[in-house]
Structures are given as C-alpha cells and as structure tokens.
C-alpha cells in the first residue's frame, strides 16, 4: 500500500467504521423489535407452546431437523410440518410410530416415548412455528 495512506488512517477507518456499523446494527435491531409483534405470532405463544419448545430443545431435535431452515439437514424441515403432515394428529402419529430399533438400512427418528401431554405440546409448538411470517419460505410444502 502506498506511503500516502498511513497506518493512522487505516486505524481510524477501523475504529470509525466499526463504531458506525455497530450503531447502525443496533438501530436496525431496535426497529426489528418494534416490527416483530406483527410477524412472530406471539399472540399464540401459550404455556403449552413454550413447553413444546422446551421439549424440542431438550431432545435436540435440531440435531437432525431444520426449523425455518436452520439446524441439521439430515431430516426434513419442520417449519411447515404442521401443514405437510396434516395437523396435530399427523405429527403425533408420526412421532409415536417410530420403531425403537430403527429401520434396517434407513434413517429413522428415535422413539422418544413422549407422554400424550408432551406430544400435544410439541404439536402446538410446531403449529405456532408454522404461523410465523417467514416471507413465504419455504418455497413449497416439501420444505
């Protein structure tokens, strides 16, 4: 780099640029928070949904599945599972019917032995997730 461009100038670009963009990011974060109530389906965030989210986390579902596209890519996207599997009964039926020892040669979800109450909570969580405004993602029902 040329001599006219000094280390002090480079340093100032670093500090000034970083400070500016941190502040811009914070401003956008603030604005995002004020826009979220219309998008994040919080009106349906019940106790049961929160319980479902806790079960989702404590069984590491994200270790195989993606949710709104984030997670692992070993098993199907679940942000629209509520629609794809045909509502709460479809979701519960699928989870309950997983064989304990898997399926020979194929990927299989483990059998988690959830109680009926837990299954309801998981289905409620996936219903709540499916109603978040995700700008029309995923592109189709296959996720």
């Amino acid at each position: 780099m040329s001599q006219a461009f000094t280390k002090a100038m480079a340093r100032n670009i670093f500090y000034g640029g970083s400070a500016f963009f941190i502040l811009l990011f914070l401003a956008l974060t603030f604005d995002t928070h004020s826009a979220l109530p219309d998008r994040d389906n919080r009106q349906n965030l019940t106790e049961q949904v929160a319980h479902g989210k806790a079960l989702w986390e404590e069984n590491n579902c994200i270790g195989c599945h993606s949710l709104l596209g984030e997670g692992a890519y070993f098993a199907p996207e679940l942000g629209n599972a509520y629609q794809r599997l045909g509502g709460a009964d479809g979701i519960k039926g699928f989870i309950m019917s997983r064989p304990k020892d898997g399926i020979p040669g194929r990927r299989s979800m483990p059998q988690f032995n959830f109680t009926p109450e837990e299954l309801d909570a998981i289905a409620a969580f996936l219903k709540y997730s499916s109603e978040i405004n995700t700008a029309n993602w995923p592109p189709n029902i296959q996720g």
């Binding site: 000094t6 709104l68 070993f74 993602w137 029902i141």
Partner: protein, 466 residues
C-alpha cells in the same frame, strides 16, 4: 523461544490436535449415516454424533486460539505472561469440562443430560452449536475471563502492538458475544435472532480479527517485512471485516420471521464480505513476495498462504454463492449450506490454528526455528492431502446441494425430502471417500511430529539467502 512462559502454549496445541482427530472420526460416522441410515443406531444417533463433530471443532479451535495467544502475546509484549500457572490451571479445567460434556453427549440421552444438569433452571441447551449444558457454558465463561485477564494484563504491562491489540479485541468480542448464548426466550423469532449474535458475529466477525492478527504475527516472523507495513494491512482488513460483516448478519434474517428489509441489508453487505478475505490473500502473497529473508520453516509459510487462499474460497466465494436473498430463498438450509460450512471453517479457522502450530511447535519442542527437512516434507504432504480433500468434500456437497434444491424446491413437481436424499446418495458416498482421504491427511500430519526428530534442523540454502 524468547520467553519461558510461552511454553504454556504447548499443551493447548496438543489438546487441539487430539480433539481434531475426534472431530474427524465423528465426521466420518455422520457421513456414513447419511448413506447407511441405521449405522450405529440407536446407540449413537445422528444428532448425537453431529453434536460431537461440531462441538469438538469449536472446542479445539478455542484451544488453538488460546494456545496461539499464549505463544504470541509474550513475544509481542516483550515480557513473560502475567500468570503461566493460571494458564495451565485453565487448560485442565477446560479440558476436563470439555471431555465430561462430550462423554455426557455419548453416554446419556440428551434429555437426561438436560435433566441432570438442571437445564430447566436456565434453559440454554438444544440449540445448534450451543448444545452444551448450561453449567458447561458457565465454565466456558469462567475460562474465557481468566484467559482474557492473563493475556490482557500481559499486554497492558508490556509493549503494546497492533497485532496484540487486534487479538485482544477479537478475544474480548468472542467472550462478550458468547453471553448471548444464555438468552433463550420462548419466542422462537427472538431466540433465533440473538442466536446469530453468537454464531454469525463470532465466525464472520470477531474470529476474523483473531485470524488476521495470528496471520500478521506469523508473516512478520517468517518474512521479516517491516511491521509497520503489515500492521497497516491488518487494520484495513479487519476494518473491512467489521464494516461488511456486522450488517452482513442480515443474511440470516431473511426467513426467520424478521422484517423483510433485511433481505436488502443482508444481500448488499454480505455480498461485500468476500472483500476482506480477498485482501487477506493479496496481503499474504505480497508479504511473502517482498520477504527480506527466507525462513527455514517452509511448512509454516505454506500453511499461512494456504489459509489466505482457502479462507477466501470457503468463506468468501462459497459464502457469496448463496448469500443473495433471491438465491438463498432456494438454497437456505440445504447441502449448499453444509458445503460452505466445511470449506469456510477449514480454510479460515482450522488452517490458521495449524499455521500457528506449525510456526510455534518447533520452538516449543526445543528447536531454533524449524523442524528437519524430513518432518517438514511430511507436514507439507498432510497440508495437500487435507486441503485437497476438503475441496472435494465441498464440491461433492455442492453437487448434492444443487440437485437437492432443484428436485425438492425448484422443479415444477417438487419431491419429498427423503426421496431426494435417496436420489443424491452417490454424492454422499463420494463425500465420505473424500472424508477418509482427509483422515489419512490428518494422520500424516500427526506422523510429521514423530519423524526426523533426530535429524538436524532445516536451514536456508546459502544461495537462497536474500
């Protein structure tokens, strides 16, 4: 080695390499589970093996960063570490906590681990990359604070250079941003929004500062180019990193319930994120070409140049490939993401840690400046084996991803997820073969520490001397 206390870096580097082997073995397991779905089921289900694969990566890179800091800071500050004893104590705490966590993953069902560790008191588990029990996370914070105190005080009491300052800013940012791992609201959108404050602002933010400063340090040492020149480059590179990378976080806010203006902010700024990586490549080659001396450790220079190139390809090019929101609409959460993840982590962070180990380890083991020729030749073989393998892993996953996106999301008649997975299995098989090649490369790398130990150090040939 100029300062006695630099020796604390050695156990950190050894632990890093050991955990690296574990990471790759579990990578091979999950790679195989992609094509033989019931492999090790139900004993080690995919989610557990993947968690071990990703968590080991993070932990060994952190070991590598800490080891690098303990080696680099005394030389930059021109004084001994404030407390070598604290560094060794923290090493053992981190290693034991890490090992217990991994054993917990493998031996107890995850929900049992959550219960045992009282996750319901402060739920933080079960989110990608942040799967560690809350108690482990608290341990990470304590280790990070003790580490920051140790290197921070050393810098404060000694010579302050741009290299150590940038390293400190990066490490402080790493510790501060990790605190968002403790924020886990019931609201899924907010949960995801702040999860990225850890994940994105680490790997596309503050970790790049750590990367830049380690690279600058190794280039100063191996090329003999004037520090002023290198530090000027470092400032410009990290300035571009944060100018593009902070708002670039927006490329994760397209489809998770956040406002749609993020599609503009995210697309524009993350499209600029390759710039700092490109500058890093230009910088590394420029400094080596303008070198004032030939360093006898040719392997370290190879790793340094390799880091710059592979970070640009993996993080820069493969990141750009799917970062624009109209493209990401189709590729989000597909094998394209996995392809980018593999080459970016290898190119930027695995390689910079190996660069530092390559540079420092000969001195830590009592050499003047470099290993014997025989050892270096083997190390350079391992460089090429691992690097070529990761290129192929990335290409095969990209192939899988393109087909997946087309069949599942783009074609007129989209197919279900598992149907598509079966159709692209050939690519997963080829990825697994490349993975085995990578393991061979890694074993070659380890072997390079055990050959040529009795032979004399490599020296620069007289005719080569500048």
């Amino acid at each position: 080695m100029q300062y006695k206390s630099q020796a604390v870096a050695k156990p950190y580097f050894i632990a890093a390499i050991g955990l690296f082997v574990g990471q790759i073995l579990f990578g091979l397991i999950i790679g195989l589970q992609y094509v033989i779905g019931d492999f090790l089921f139900p004993e080690i289900p995919f989610n557990v093996a993947r968690m071990v694969h990703t968590n080991l990566l993070i932990v060994w890179l952190l070991f590598g960063f800490m080891g690098a800091a303990y080696y680099l800071v005394p030389e930059e500050a021109e004084r001994e570490l404030v407390s070598p004893g604290l560094a060794i104590l923290m090493f053992w705490i981190f290693l034991v906590a890490g090992a217990l966590t991994i054993l917990g993953y493998l031996l107890v069902p995850y929900s049992g681990l959550a219960e045992m560790t009282g996750n319901s008191l402060l739920p933080t588990m079960g989110r990608e990359f942040l799967e560690q029990p809350t108690i482990t996370k608290i341990g990470i914070v304590i280790v990070a604070l003790a580490f920051l105190f140790n290197v921070g005080m050393t810098v404060l009491k000694g010579r302050k250079t741009v290299v150590s300052l940038v390293l400190l800013i990066g490490l402080t940012g790493l510790a501060l941003l990790f605190l968002f791992a403790f924020y886990n609201p019931d609201n899924l959108v907010k949960d995801k929004f702040y999860w990225w404050w850890v994940v994105h602002l680490w790997v596309e933010g503050v970790w790049e500062l750590i990367l830049g400063s380690i690279l600058a340090f190794v280039l100063i040492k191996t090329t003999g180019v004037d520090r002023e020149v290198i530090e000027k480059w470092l400032y410009v590179i990290i300035a571009m990193t944060l100018i593009t990378g902070i708002i670039g976080t927006g490329h994760h806010f397209y489809w998770i319930g956040t406002p749609e203006y993020w599609q503009w902010w995210g697309s524009i700024f993350s499209a600029l994120e390759p710039i700092p990586f490109f500058m890093m490549t230009v910088f590394a080659f420029n400094m080596v070409n303008r070198r004032r001396r030939n360093h006898p450790n040719k392997a370290a220079v190879l790793w340094a140049l390799g880091t710059a190139v592979m970070a640009f390809l993996g993080a820069g090019v493969w990141g750009f490939l799917h970062t624009l929101s109209p493209v990401n609409y189709y590729t989000h959460g597909s094998q394209i993401t996995a392809a980018h993840g593999h080459m970016a982590f290898y190119g930027a962070y695995v390689m910079i840690v190996l660069t530092m180990i390559s540079y420092a380890m000969p001195m830590l083991r009592g050499r003047e400046a470099a290993n014997s020729n025989r050892s270096q030749v083997l190390e350079m073989w391992s460089f090429w084996l691992m690097t070529v393998s990761i290129v192929f892993i990335t290409l095969f996953l990209t192939g899988a991803g393109i087909l997946q996106v087309y069949l599942q999301r783009y074609s007129a008649d989209p197919l279900p997820f598992m149907v598509v997975q079966d159709k692209i299995a050939l690519f997963y098989w080829m990825r697994e073969v490349a993975g085995v090649m990578f393991l061979i490369g890694l074993l070659t790398y380890i072997a390079s520490f055990f050959v040529g130990g009795k032979e004399p150090e490599a020296v620069v040939a007289a005719t080569e001397g500048a």
